[in-house]
Symmetry: C2
Subunit: 413 residues, 2 copies
């Protein structure tokens, strides 16, 4: 991609109304644009990162055999009335059509996925079953804040699982869902701590996945013996570690990157989602739900991976593999060398952003550090004189000189 033709401009102006690191770097770096409080446009650079995050999530969901669906944002009031949440859920956006219909704007999809399973599940032979979607959600948050960490419109993956009984749900929860979640976070360079949280009215516990970062908005309490954590609410109840019985905890600031709930029969009861068991008896289907905020993850990644100059993307979610800076472009030999390197890398399927703008070297270096593509290449009069280009990893000091004709070395770097 040529930066001169890209829908991208960096900015020197910090957002006036949001002091968070992720809002500052993502807005100034041209990843997102704030439309109003809690609502953002993903610009090409930001959407590339979001798509990579969502591809990692999708690959793991497919691997555990869940089917991908796409449920609507517009949801009928009746479904929400049935579960009692039309009145109870304070973050629910409610709207009226000019024809008198009442709609909820989906903040989550239990009210859709449960009746959706009615024609699909009838016998124990149809279970277990799981579906997921990656989709835009809406919550009427009292206060949007911290960039992409709390917004009114956001992207989310939600997985729902259906089981014959709690034993099967628990096995799925522990042996399928939690390991898949850990693989997802690891793939994007995050160590997520499994954290016990309140289960609400229908279960003893739910679980959050928390990433320790100094700017985190939550506090978690990590068992020093086994590593399982409790969130503040659970910790204050003062019980020993559920897994190992340990009683020593360390406190850490953290940011939530996912949460999972054993829903049990709460929603299947509302929609009469039952199955016939092996003895021919009707039973309630047991359900679980598993969320990951994918746009929120983009914010958390920036909170974790940055320095004073800008973002430092982990490779697996970086918008491009290489940022190729063309300096001294007025020299035709230099411009040609950069174009050749750019073309050769693209031909190998490598993702390269070519900074071919008519700007000073200083501006290009500053912008490159801000945008945070993990590896920077420089083609300049000085490098071309040596038949070479420079390679430098973002966040590291060392610059390496590589011969132009040996560019393929980059592929293994």
């Amino acid at each position: 991609m040529r930066q001169s033709q890209y829908f991208l401009k960096t900015s020197k102006t910090q957002p006036s109304d949001d002091p968070s690191v992720n809002a500052r770097l993502l807005e100034q770096g041209g990843f997102v644009q704030k439309v109003m409080a809690g609502v953002y446009t993903f610009l090409p650079l930001g959407l590339r990162v979001l798509a990579k995050i969502e591809d990692i999530v999708r690959a793991e969901m497919d691997k555990i055999g869940a089917g991908e669906v796409l449920m609507p944002a517009l949801q009928p009031k009746e479904n929400w009335a049935k579960t009692g949440r039309w009145d109870e859920l304070d973050v629910l956006f409610r709207l009226k059509s000019r024809h008198g219909y009442d709609y909820a704007l989906g903040p989550t999809h239990e009210e859709i996925v449960t009746p959706a399973a009615l024609p699909v599940i009838s016998s124990y032979r149809d279970l277990p079953l799981a579906v997921y979607q990656i989709q835009t959600k809406f919550r009427d948050e009292p206060r949007a804040k911290s960039g992409l960490l709390r917004t009114r419109e956001f992207r989310m993956k939600d997985l729902y699982s259906f089981h014959t009984d709690e034993k099967d749900l628990n096995e799925y929860y522990e042996k399928v869902a939690i390991p898949a979640y850990q693989r997802i976070y690891r793939a994007m360079g995050l160590d997520a701590v499994l954290t016990e949280a309140s289960g609400g009215t229908f279960s003893k516990f739910s679980h959050e996945f928390q990433v320790e970062i100094p700017s985190g908005e939550d506090y978690i309490y990590v068992c020093e013996k086994c590593g399982l954590a409790k969130n503040k609410e659970i910790f204050e109840e003062g019980v020993a570690c559920t897994v190992c019985g340990g009683k020593k905890y360390r406190e850490a600031a953290a940011s939530e990157v996912g949460n999972i709930f054993p829903l049990k029969t709460k929603y299947s009861k509302s929609f009469e989602l039952t199955y016939t068991d092996e003895k021919g008896k009707k039973q309630d289907v047991v359900m679980g739900c598993y969320g990951i905020g994918t746009s929120r993850l983009l914010g958390v990644l920036v909170e974790k991976y940055h320095d004073s100059r800008g973002i430092i993307w982990p490779r697996s979610v970086a918008p491009f593999d290489f940022h190729l800076l063309l300096l001294d472009a007025s020299d035709p030999k230099v411009a040609e060398a950069a174009e050749q390197l750019y073309g050769a890398l693209q031909a190998k399927g490598v993702e390269v952003l070519l900074d071919d703008r008519d700007m000073s070297a200083g501006v290009k270096f500053v912008d490159s550090d801000l945008i945070g593509i993990p590896r920077r290449l420089v083609v300049s009069a000085r490098s071309v004189e040596k038949g070479s280009f420079e390679l430098k990893a973002r966040g590291e000091g060392k610059t390496e000189l590589i011969e132009l004709r040996s560019f393929e070395k980059l592929l293994s770097k």
Copy 2:
């Protein structure tokens, strides 16, 4: 994918409230599920087709150098007030937050993309520029009807282009946008007729792309000399063909699959989107917009490609490459042969739906015809006896016997 574990059940019951072919076959085939009037869930089978349609669209947009963005559904009232459409646009969903904010629910994105371009466009050097998105849109239609053809929530690709003047817009419109659209439709087996439509208040013409189908909800009038069409409104004005001067037209029923508008300076004026020209003078940016309803296309494809038994998907958008039916599964030799063929094809990257359900051959054949995967493979006691499996193209009569060990022949079929 194993059908026994897929979130899919076909149905023998026709939808009671929608006589359209696409609603009937997509609902009965388990592609979509109606949530309420004009609002659907895409089930795994339907989402696969939608994703293939959107991938075809995305590839062409990338090819013409447009940057992909993702703009929000929640949009501030002020932006819509600025263009006058808050009051004027009758299909606009309007909602209030509990905190008093007024939002529009995006039916289109001129009110977002135009201000989004303010920080990006300042000089003639920044132009031309184009961005697109593939995203969910909302319209408060007075009457949702005809399955996926007219819904209140739908998927759409919208491209917006920015130019220095009308000449550049017209060139882009004719040499870039229209050819890209024609490639998109051809890639999914549709012949779309370029059709002149009203340009509204700000342009002489806009254009629709119309696919001739007997069940089409529009009538178009195709110039017998050059093939350019007029929609009913324009045709009734009675003028000769704009391109060739021809005066003979044939009438055809058709369904709209895209429309494009020269917006000129309508929206740039509202948001003061200007650029500085080569002489240092401020000028209004000239814009165009280009839409394709991707979920609507799914419906149009079914209206065009079906027979009395079900859908016949064009290969490029089919949910799977092959539908592999396992008959006589109680015979371990037969089951093993089917599993081996399934595994071997998957290892080659071929997309196969394996019907491994405990059902009769009759049910499997009926369901397979309904779902419409273009090529059907059958492994049965009879075929295995001959060391073979059967291949049959959907919609054709001829069955071919292929040796199991020569399955790779399928890859070139």
